[in-house]
């Protein structure tokens, strides 16, 4: 129990740190980076805004996931993880990952069709598989949570 408490605390600190870093990337780093790239390579300048929006969207998805994890941690702290409330936040995570996955699939398809060397498509493909695994894992864990919640609800009725 003591280890779990420490893990939850460290996880919360890490989540906040990650959220802030992602916010900085989203608002300052990536837009600036793509503006600079458009200046350096005028032939790819038309990609500036699409790339900015795609990256901002991906980071938004990650932020939504972080926020949902934060909410789930609060439920664990309140000993209410096996209630229907937690299912809502797990659904939020699954949907955010699904949204990022769809955009990633689109980008992979676009890059795959236009690429002249295999480096970037391969990198994107690795990301694609990673996000797929993450999404499927969340779906499996969602099913486990549903089972545990049903079990807990049954147990609560035992006198």
């Amino acid at each position: 129990m003591q280890i779990q408490r420490w893990a939850v605390l460290l996880l919360r600190v890490s989540l906040v740190t990650l959220f802030v870093v992602l916010l900085l990337l989203q608002t300052f780093s990536f837009p600036g980076q793509f503006a600079f790239m458009a200046q350096q390579h005028p032939q790819s300048a038309h990609l500036r805004w699409p790339l900015t929006f795609v990256f901002a969207f991906w980071i938004l998805c990650a932020q939504v996931v972080l926020f949902a994890i934060w909410k789930l941690l609060a439920l664990i702290g309140a000993n209410r993880i096996f209630t229907s409330v937690s299912m809502t936040w797990v659904d939020v995570i699954v949907r955010a990952i699904a949204a990022a996955w769809i955009i990633l699939a689109g980008v992979l398809l676009y890059v795959g069709l236009h690429a002249d060397d295999p480096g970037l498509p391969l990198l994107l493909f690795t990301w694609f598989i990673g996000v797929t695994v993450l999404g499927l894992l969340m779906i499996v864990m969602r099913a486990l949570l549903r089972q545990a919640t049903a079990l807990q609800t049954d147990m609560d009725e035992v006198i």
Binding site: D154, E157, V158, I159
Partner: protein, 68 residues
């Protein structure tokens, strides 16, 4: 549910109030009401043990099976 909980019979035999029974068994009055009204879905063996101890009876004296 064809299982009937016969607490009231044993309480009457012991002349024990529901409140005293709940306190001595360690149940909430609400849960005693659930047992008495036949709305209980499941009972722990530890609860059954405590009830038998307080009422000085056998589980068979508390639980009765009937045809639906």
């Amino acid at each position: 549910m064809p299982i009937i909980v016969r607490i009231d019979v044993q309480l009457a035999r012991r002349k024990m109030s529901v409140g005293e029974f709940a306190e001595r068994v360690g149940l909430t009055p609400a849960n005693v009401a659930v047992l008495k009204n036949g709305r209980a879905k499941a009972v722990r063996f530890s609860t059954l043990d405590a009830m038998c101890r307080v009422l000085d009876c056998q589980p068979g004296d508390l639980l009765e099976w009937t045809e639906d």
